[in-house]
Symmetry: C3
Subunit: 150 residues, 3 copies
């Protein structure tokens, strides 16, 4: 099965994106590495906002991490000329919008890691930090990635 087919098994598809987001790019390639911008938990008409530990359950946070991950993969696909160009997901910074006292941030970012493993297999197993902070416009999750491509 191709990476795209495996992603479809999880209920998601990729879309071409306009990389130029005005003041910033959604991602930049330097050599064989793609650095994505932080992608918030928004995909098409769906967005997940709120703080873990106050407004959202871990399950909702997990879903939010999936949306951010698909956002990153859209960027990688567009920059690399296809998701099949991925050699390795190198590094994930998973940022969770947290209320005071919520520190189960890894369980939220597992929504990203599980997806990357399902789609890319061993090539998707990445280094990661999963931490809590304050996110733009109260989005639940924001994820940035470094991905090695052909």
């Amino acid at each position: 099965m191709s990476y795209l087919e495996r992603l479809r098994e999880l209920g998601y598809t990729l879309e071409p994106v306009e990389l130029d987001a005005g003041k910033i790019m959604l991602g930049v390639r330097s050599g064989n590495l793609i650095f994505t911008s932080g992608q918030v938990s928004r995909l098409g008409d769906l967005e997940i906002k709120g703080q873990l530990g106050a407004d959202l359950s871990v399950e909702e946070g997990y879903k939010a991490a999936q949306l951010s991950t698909v956002g990153c993969l859209n960027v990688v696909q567009t920059l690399a000329g296809g998701i099949d160009k991925v050699v390795r997901v190198v590094k994930v910074l998973g940022m969770v919008n947290v209320a005071p006292g919520f520190s189960n941030t890894p369980a939220v970012i597992h929504g990203c890691s599980d997806m990357l493993l399902h789609v890319f297999g061993e090539s998707g197993r990445h280094a990661r930090s999963a931490v809590g902070m304050t996110l733009p416009l109260n989005y639940a999750v924001e994820i940035e990635m470094i991905v090695e491509v052909f």
Copy 2:
């Protein structure tokens, strides 16, 4: 116009800096990439401290992001042997000192992105995350960059 002239249009100049800051370096080059240390919102005698959403307006935060950006460019200039050696600003991590409830962090870090676009044109359009956290010694903004150079 040169990059330096474009920066001057915004009212800023670059200065050589001592890269060795004791326990750390202000930036390190590896291959064609420069990784800067996080540069706080301090430039010469001017410093901007305080939390967005409590002590500072978005406009003051925007100015703080400019100071951090010039700090990064000073480092890049010194490490690369001139700001004209910049091939591409690859990635910006914009960190904003926030009070609870303030999540308009992108508007603050636009102070960085607008400056990079003005100075470098398309070569300055970068991948970015702009998030809220707690910063050293209560500085308003801290920015770190990855920059590709010749």
Copy 3:
């Protein structure tokens, strides 16, 4: 003296680690760069949890940063085939678990920087950000590194 001997002077040794941590890797190599996962302040049977500014002193945070650093070096040693393969510690992101009002995050992450300088000498002098946020499972410190190796 070798790097390992210098580390032993500080009372620490390195251990081989299983890089595959299930959903993630403890570190990934891409070209000559190693990207570690964020390593929390836990080493063997010892762990340091709590917030700076509420539960822990700066001295305890400094010690926590040492534990995280040894965790990173375990990963680098295993991935590179020996700590003597380190060319340069490029970048450290030091994350401190902070209570509201605590902003002396650099003094905590000095526990990392001092160790890297002691062990690697000039090759250990790195670019760094040292900031406050919310960490997984209430660990006091989490550190991720980018290290250039042969």
